[in-house]
């Protein structure tokens, strides 16, 4: 192991000048610690997935080599064996002046764990490049590195330089062409220091909050919504020790960058380096896989394009960006569109049309097949008359004749699609069963902390899947083999966002209209908050505390609005109660509300609906309310866990009777009774409320008096029970 020997010699020299001259090192994370490429990544690590017929990691390694990196530490976790085997058998193990060392771990669940492990190994001795194995780039590191070093000389706290690139997200979907969510950054235009970083993970409001000291310290700050994070970082050694010191840092951006920016106790700084003409992008999801594949075919990543990477004469580039390996068997009547890649040993039948697609090696494609915008990996058999649009088809898949793949379909390894079977859009099909619901539920929130283990477990799964295949074969038509993964409800919306298929136009239109509504809400809110609240605070100086209250009040009002909208949608679209509970819960989290607030808000929406439904008399109104309460009692009940929350509902109801829905005032005791009957309110709650109200002002006791009889009855019932 040449790498370690080098490390040993370097450790002797303590002189900083010496250290600066140390060979450039890089850490390559061969695990993305996410689950976005499932089900494919259950069987093969992401870095080994073919990108225009070459495993992704090759692009990254080739770039690192060309950028002057001499020593790469490849960190493998999920499917580590596959990665190590691949690297050992590849040309990378025998390059002069470029050593690739693997570091294996079985229990790392995040990038943070990986860096902590690397720190323990004590192999990094100076500035290093931190990159994940799914990054394609052709940028030159020289300038960025020089800037980084110069800054380090002046300020030892400048520990990281992030590479960013211009890329304006779509105004409608708010995502970049790579399918990643929009990113907000604040950068000092002079020093290029990064001052603020927000990806959509913490998206909640229509506002960005910049700390005022930040603005006071920097006379000019540029807020960017038009940059893309390339996930190429030049780091100093301290980065590793920081991860060790802060053992809760998991995610490179969400925890580490955010942590340094928000609590800058140690004064560490992060800077940015913008690239303009060169290429850098990370394959984060299926959409970026599609985008980057196209970029490679169109040679934006030159010299990292298939014909150069594969060397010599194996692949020829022809007109209109078509790449063809030397021994392709092509029928005379087959048609090639532009920007298409066809790998070695592939056979293509008559009248087959292929455009904007990548076809791997040794595939057999029948006659009258249409392939459009799809990625077919190796050894795939496509029989006559199949139609594929915007799909990813992994190794060894068989499409029986007449099968149709609708846009966005992912077929994992060795899946068989039956004759004439239509695989619905956005399906993910695998021989492996979908991990249990509970598992994926967790992943929704902590995608980066559980995924690693998930993928590890799947390794073990690998062995025992074969037996139960036959049972469910019918899922993919006659003769089909594989499971269609169900999409978890919450994630359904995300499916089309990150899919390999372009976003359908009706989605765009819908989104556009939704956004309009949102904006209306926002503008309204802005006006409600009082035209110039944000301006007035300084004039009276002491208003800050009120302001906070007002703030949470505003939050609550908009939260209530959202809950109401959710509830109404649930009513009108017949959404299941469980789903509604889930949605309200999501709202609760995003607005940071307690479940007390949820109960109140839901109850409010229910009663409002009752008032708004047509009714002519008090008794009809009562019936309306009774109907709604009966239908949705489960929803309400799921947010009322204890007595306090139930009391809150009563208080809310009182408030409504006084303000927004006076019609209920007369019905107060009846509704109270109704809620009691439906077991939404326990008698304890009602009695406690009555006791609390006992000491209140006369004016406050209006409703208590009205329901006196009912309460009396409750008390008596209780006493009887006691006896």
């Amino acid at each position: 192991m040449g790498a370690q020997k080098k490390g040993a010699t370097a450790r002797v020299s303590e002189d900083p000048e010496e250290l600066a001259r140390h060979p450039l090192q890089a850490i390559l994370l061969a695990d993305s610690f996410t689950t976005k490429f499932r089900p494919i990544t259950l069987e093969r690590p992401k870095v080994l997935l073919p990108l225009v017929n070459i495993p992704m990691i090759n692009y990254t390694l080739a770039w690192l080599e060309s950028a002057g990196v001499e020593e790469v530490f490849v960190f493998c976790c999920a499917h580590s064996k596959q990665v190590i085997d691949y690297l050992e058998s590849s040309e990378w193990s025998s390059q002069p002046n470029f050593s690739v060392t693997t570091i294996e771990s079985h229990n790392s669940i995040s990038a943070g764990d990986a860096l902590r492990l690397i720190y323990e190994r004590n192999v990094i001795h100076g500035d290093f490049v931190l990159i994940s194995g799914d990054t394609v780039s052709n940028m030159s590191l020289t300038q960025a590195l020089q800037e980084h070093k110069d800054r380090r000389k002046k300020d030892a706290n400048a520990i990281m330089t992030m590479v960013v690139k211009q890329s304006k997200p779509s105004p409608i979907t708010q995502q970049s062409r790579l399918g990643t969510d929009e990113l907000f950054m604040a950068i000092n235009p002079v020093t290029k220091q990064l001052l603020y970083y927000e990806d959509k993970a913490e998206y909640s409001k229509g506002f960005i909050s910049l700390d005022k000291t930040l603005i006071a310290d920097n006379p000019s700050v540029i807020l960017h919504n038009d940059k893309q994070d390339c996930y190429i970082d030049i780091c100093s050694q301290q980065v590793l020790s920081l991860f060790t010191d802060n053992f809760d840092y998991q995610h490179l951006r969400r925890h580490f960058v955010k942590g340094l920016l928000v609590d800058d106790i140690m004064g560490y700084k992060i800077f940015t380096h913008e690239i303009h003409s060169s290429y850098a992008a990370r394959i984060d999801n299926f959409r970026s896989y599609d985008t980057i594949s196209k970029d490679i075919i169109q040679r934006w990543t030159y010299p990292f394009v298939p014909d150069v990477l594969c060397g010599s004469s194996a692949i020829k580039v022809e007109r209109q960006g078509t790449y063809r390996a030397s021994d392709v068997t092509l029928s005379r009547s087959a048609q090639f569109g532009s920007f298409t890649f066809i790998g070695q040993g592939t056979k293509i039948g008559t009248d087959t049309k292929i455009s904007h697609s990548v076809i791997g090696e040794r595939c057999t494609i029948g006659s009258n097949v249409t392939i459009e915008g799809s990625y077919i990996w190796n050894n795939v058999t496509i029989e006559d008359g199949c139609r594929l649009r915007n799909a990813i088809v992994c190794d060894g898949v068989i499409l029986k004749s007449g099968a149709v793949l609708q846009p966005g379909v992912i077929l994992s390894f060795k899946v068989v699609v039956g004759q004439q079977f239509v695989v619905p859009a956005y399906s993910k099909v695998s021989l492996l069963q979908q991990p249990t619901q509970q598992d994926s539920d967790e992943e929704l929130e902590y995608a980066d902390s559980t995924s690693g283990t998930g993928e590890l477990r799947s390794d073990k799964l690998n062995g025992d899947i074969a037996p139960d295949l036959s049972e469910t074969a019918s899922e993919l038509g006659t003769g089909g083999v594989g499971y269609i993964w169900t999409v978890f409800e919450g994630a359904y919306d995300e499916e089309w966002r990150h899919s390999v298929a372009p976003i359908p136009t009706d989605k765009l239109v819908k989104l556009m209209l939704d956004k309009d509504e949102d904006e209306e809400l926002l503008t309204q809110d802005g006006n409600v908050i009082s035209a110039s609240r944000e301006l007035k605070t300084d004039s009276d100086g002491n208003g800050s505390e009120d302001d906070d209250n007002e703030d949470s009040r505003d939050d609550y009002v908009s939260f209530e609005k959202e809950v109401e909208a959710t509830f109404l949608r649930a009513v009108h679209e017949n959404v299941k109660v469980d789903l509604a509970v889930l949605e309200v819960n999501a709202l609760r989290l995003s607005y940071n509300m307690a479940s007390v607030d949820c109960g109140g808000a839901i109850f409010y929406s229910m009663m409002k609906l009752a008032v708004e439904s047509p009714h002519n008399s008090a008794s009809e109104l009562h019936r309306n309310a009774a109907d709604i309460v009966t239908t949705w009692q489960k929803l309400l009940k799921s947010f009322l866990h204890d007595i306090d929350e139930e009391i809150e509902v009563i208080l809310k109801f009182e408030e409504m009777c006084l303000e927004s829905a006076k019609e209920f005032a007369a019905l107060f005791p009846q509704i109270l009774h109704l809620l009691y009957d439906k077991e939404i309110l326990q008698e304890d709650a009602i009695l406690r409320w009555a006791d609390e109200k006992e000491g209140a002002d006369e004016s406050d006791k209006v409703f208590l008096k009205r329901s006196e009889k009912f309460i009396q009855w409750l008390r008596e019932a209780e006493e009887e029970e006691d006896e």
Binding site: K168, P169, S170, P171, I172, Q174, E182, F184, A186, P189, G206, F207, I208, S209, L210, D211, K212, I215, A216, N218, P219, S220, V221, I222, L223, H224, N225, D226, K227, T505, L508, V509, M512, L513, E519, E520, L522, T523, G526, A531, S532, E534, L535, K536, T537, D538, S539, G541, G543, S544, D547
Partner: protein, 454 residues
């Protein structure tokens, strides 16, 4: 130019007591022996903006101001004087005179602005962009005495906490965000960031209180939002905030015909989508947002909020505090002496006693007399003052008809008209209100002396 100018001259500013009084409203407060209002009017005249409405708070003050203007600018400017009640705010004042506004665009300028930035430049910017509002921004002035140097000044500016947070587009032409310095964090709308891509947040710029409005927009905002009090704190932020989504009130602006049909007709979707997909090179973010799902660009209204940023070398300060008053007096006689208009020339030289020295950056009004062995440094002495012997005046402003006894020492102070300082008075950083009598031998430091109001 079809521009009407509204000069908000103010009246009795509380910040400036005891300098201003019933007899001397703020617009007439002398800066280097010349009413502060003169500086604005002079600049307007230079830019050929001659159709003016001067709004003064209070009837009495209006009469005084009117008398002065008609005496000074007769035949040179077309001025109307309008009196408005006190404490109705800048927006309130405009609302009160709204029916006098007839021109297509309105230039609103604060009467206490001492600046060499030509108002014409702002007006031209406004016209060029066909903006709803254009505001002038200038660098934050360094306040405090000159000696403290630039670093000290910076600290002061921070302490004052009066600077704005201003968001500009990359071309520095559009105003995207504005907020005065606030207690907590700055909140920036993501929507506007989506539209524009990148926004520069500046905290080193100051709103100079010179605005150009489209009249129709201004009138409608004042009309509909009747709670708006201040231009700077209500009207301007409102316009900035709603620039991508002008509300109904701006629909009457004469650009294109109305199309009230908000519904999207599905056959038009296709065209619209192709437009979205091809948006890569939209000329301006306003353009993108003003497009409509049905392909026309009529229902969704945007308006532009523009800025004119004065070059950092230009002079631009508002006289809104005593400190500012001192600074302006210092600057106008010193660094920024080009601001003194020609009609400012001093009359017959004042009479000076023997061995009396008058340093540079000083100004002596006509008919003033000084005794022997006086020293005047960086100070302004008004008209018809009588100054005894052995008087020392440094960094001070002495207005008209002031009597100063022998042996007085005045430092960093303002002495208003008709004040009498008896012998051997020592004043440091004081303000002495009009008509006050300081008894012999008294010493004051950092105090405000004024006659008790009856």
């Amino acid at each position: 130019m079809d521009f009407q100018v509204v000069v908000l001259a103010g009246g009795n500013s509380k910040n400036l007591t005891p300098l201003v009084s019933k007899e001397l409203p703020k617009p007439l407060l002398p800066v280097a022996n010349c009413p502060v209002l003169n500086y604005v009017l002079h600049q307007l005249e230079q830019s050929n903006l001659k159709d003016l409405i001067v709004v003064v708070e209070g009837e009495d003050a209006a009469l005084l101001v009117g008398a002065w203007i008609s005496g000074t600018f007769i035949d040179r400017l077309h001025v109307e004087i309008a009196a408005v009640p006190e404490d109705i705010g800048t927006a309130g004042a405009l609302r009160a005179i709204s029916h006098h506004l007839t021109a297509k665009d309105i230039l609103v300028v604060s009467g206490d602005l001492v600046s060499d930035v030509p108002p014409g430049a702002l007006a031209a910017t406004h016209r060029r962009h066909d903006a709803a509002v254009t505001t002038m921004l200038c660098s934050i002035p360094v306040s405090g005495p000159l000696e403290s140097g630039s670093s000290g000044g910076k600290d002061k500016a921070k302490k004052l906490g009066r600077y704005n947070i201003i968001g500009l587009d990359p071309s520095k032409q559009f105003l995207l965000h504005i907020a005065t310095e606030i207690e907590k964090d700055a909140r920036i709308s993501k929507r506007i960031l989506h539209a524009v891509g990148q926004m520069e947040m500046r905290s080193d710029l100051m709103d100079a209180h010179m605005y150009a409005f489209k009249r129709s927009v201004l009138q409608e905002v004042l009309d509909i939002k009747d709670t708006f009090q201040s231009l700077k704190e209500d009207v301007l932020p409102y316009l900035v905030r709603s620039q991508l989504k002008s509300e109904a009130l701006l629909n009457r602006t004469p650009q294109g015909e109305e199309n009230s049909n908000e519904k999207v007709s599905s056959q038009n979707n296709q065209a619209f989508i192709s437009r979205i997909l091809a948006n890569a090179s939209t000329p301006s973010f306003h353009g993108l947002y003003s497009e409509n799902p049905d392909g026309s660009s009529s229902t969704r209204k945007t308006h532009k909020c523009c800025v004119y940023i004065a070059s950092s070398s230009s002079y631009c300060v508002r006289l809104n505090s005593i400190q500012a008053f001192m600074d302006i007096n210092r600057d106008v006689t010193g660094d920024a002496d080009h601001l003194l208009s020609p009609n400012n020339i001093i009359g017959p030289s004042p009479k000076l006693g023997t061995k009396t020295t008058v340093g540079p950056n000083c100004r002596l009004g006509e008919g003033s007399e000084m005794g022997d062995k006086c020293q005047v440094k960086r100070s302004i002495i008004g008209r018809h003052c009588r100054i005894g012997s052995h008087v020392k005046a440094v960094n001070s402003v002495v207005m008209n008809h002031v009597t100063i006894g022998d042996g007085c020492i005045i430092q960093g102070s303002v002495i208003c008209s008709n004040v009498q300082l008896q012998e051997r008075v020592v004043l440091k950083d004081c303000q002495v209100g009009a008509g006050f009598v300081v008894t012999a031998g008294s010493e004051y430091k950092a105090e405000s002396l004024a006659k008790k109001e009856k």
